[in-house]
Symmetry: C2
Subunit: 421 residues, 2 copies
Amino acid sequence: MSNHVPSTRGQCVEADASDPLGAFRDRFQLPEGVIYLDGNSLGALPKNTLARVGRTITDEWGLGLIRSWNDASWFTKPTDVGDRIAPLVGAASGEVVVADSTSASLFQVLVSALRMRPDRSVVVSERDNFPTDLYMIQGTQELLAGADRDLDRRLIHDDGPSLDEVLADDVSAVVLTHVNYRTGRMYDMAAVAEKVHAAGALVIWDLCHSVGAVPVDLNAADADFAIGCTYKYLNGGPGSPSFLWVPARHQDAARPALTGWQGHAKPFDFTVDYEPAPGITRFRVGTPQLLSLAGLEASLDVWADVDMQAVRTKSLALTDLFIALVETRLAAYDLEIVTPRDHDRRGSQVSLRIDGGYQIMQALIARGVIGDFRAPDLMRFGFTPLYLGYADVWDAVSVLEEILTSGVWQDERFARRGAVS
Amino acid sequence: MSNHVPSTRGQCVEADASDPLGAFRDRFQLPEGVIYLDGNSLGALPKNTLARVGRTITDEWGLGLIRSWNDASWFTKPTDVGDRIAPLVGAASGEVVVADSTSASLFQVLVSALRMRPDRSVVVSERDNFPTDLYMIQGTQELLAGADRDLDRRLIHDDGPSLDEVLADDVSAVVLTHVNYRTGRMYDMAAVAEKVHAAGALVIWDLCHSVGAVPVDLNAADADFAIGCTYKYLNGGPGSPSFLWVPARHQDAARPALTGWQGHAKPFDFTVDYEPAPGITRFRVGTPQLLSLAGLEASLDVWADVDMQAVRTKSLALTDLFIALVETRLAAYDLEIVTPRDHDRRGSQVSLRIDGGYQIMQALIARGVIGDFRAPDLMRFGFTPLYLGYADVWDAVSVLEEILTSGVWQDERFARRGAVS
């Protein structure tokens, strides 16, 4: 496809026909009549998942029983699957491990970072970060409070203070989400690392809205730690396990907080004292949830065939198209595009601010255009190049236009109740 | 069946025919030619699991997509499923939540307990406890070290010191596994709680080898906290999530260590500051792994029909039978039965100590009798009344007898390599 933004539905159909990623759509199972723009919250189902998880259930568990810990390589799954995620985030083999929830993984790397900066008391994050990161920082600080150092949390914001303003020689770690969950705004990882390191601190990246969405090169960007989720752009399935990354250069110094037996140097010696395993394995905790891990393995079979630069090219084309159509076809409505126009600062979602956004999103969902809403006033639309086409974007905007024009969104049935990620 | 221990294979077959739990065997998928005595490590596969997990994949995820957080009640799953586990451990509704790994759950309740005893510095456990409990205690102590109190770990042992000897006014919490993973020895929960409380400390029970194996009544036993796993006797599937129990009386005072967003009072307000949810929900951390949770839901459908007293009756009959057969038929061999004969002190496994135990277990497994081995010298046999019969026990002992008599276990192919839980 060309760099030219389609301006008719016909041009969108043409762009789909020549889309180098077009064949991937067939590898996903999507319901009829749905345009799915919420893959940034829960990715769509790969067609191979059912068989892969089914095999783990009937063959590995049912027939293999306990023997599958060895025979089906269950025991090394967290690092084996970590190695398959590694190329998607610019990590080396032996630097990624699949773990529990993203929150627990953040705890693991945050404590490691704090231990590497014992004389510093401040953790920097962003006021608009996804709240669990902020809560986990607070919880960690509360846990360590009364220790030999008082820990403080310092939050940056687009309206100030800036990162430059808060960095000082009391900052131990900076925890930032690479692509913001509300706005889709993306950080320049290397530039942030340079600033953070100049202040003597460590940078921890949350890649929840990055992995599978944009190319990430953690080692090239001189990052210190990273975590990410696999159930959004990676299509691992609802609640599929998070991963964490610790570069080889930090692995000896990094001492995880959760000292479970599967991170032990010799787990089957059943010794009384904890001794961390060498390498990334020390970040394992307990027994991995293997059915969920099998779902992730299935989606990584799809991702193994994907060129992330092609994903990025199409992602920008789709978001450019969406922005252009909102600007041209919906100019009459008071829609604010809060996602940066600058490609270098944009992830793979577009967020729109509008009065009545909650109800408008409900009306969209009722018409099969599934995005989501984030309080207080943002409609979010995620763009997943493996299973979304240009005509889908066109049609989604058409539905949005009809809803705004007709005013149907003001109907009682779309009134506010609740919302879930 | 009678209280009489069968003394012929024919009597075993008769006992199976009149077994009130006999019909449950049909609800499990077991491989041909296998006598499975390792359900204490990984429970067998219920026949309904594949369809249940499949429904979560194809319908809830594939068709429902993000909407299933509400429409399929994904968001309340951890407490909904916790409520289904509650009756199996003597918990009330609203006291159990399904969480991440057992190790992570222990961390959550241990930190809560330590916070409730701020002036006490010692955690008591048992030298022969499952190591992850010991490691998590160490990790927690290291995490809080340098705080306003020095934390110490004090370990009891059958050869001393005893619980009575270590309890003192500096003990904050006692972490014990109800049924020991090596020996199958069971504690009297109420008696322990009385001692621990008399010393002003709190008792935390690890129920990994109890839930689904023996009747447990946490509230009647005046316990303070508990954790447990669901992939052993509960048949939740490989690595199925752990659960944790906090009684209503402690829930307001208990402040979890891992302050993730799903334990927040208002998770969808996306506020900057952490505020724990009321009740057991505050012990949630991040997004639950829903495919693994669906596996657990399937097995709980089976357990919903089970009378735990009937399970206990049959469990004792099976272990009595096994012990009697080892004593009578294998009297010529130097086998030590390390599991207590006393019913009140026995869980649902029997462990045998013998020179060459590792190789003997490999020979058993090669013949389809699957138990496991725990270094340095224990062969473990788990007895799961829902899918194991009396004739199975008879036949397992026959195979063991053949292996010991023939000496085939000394064959090179059974030589030591490694072992996995």
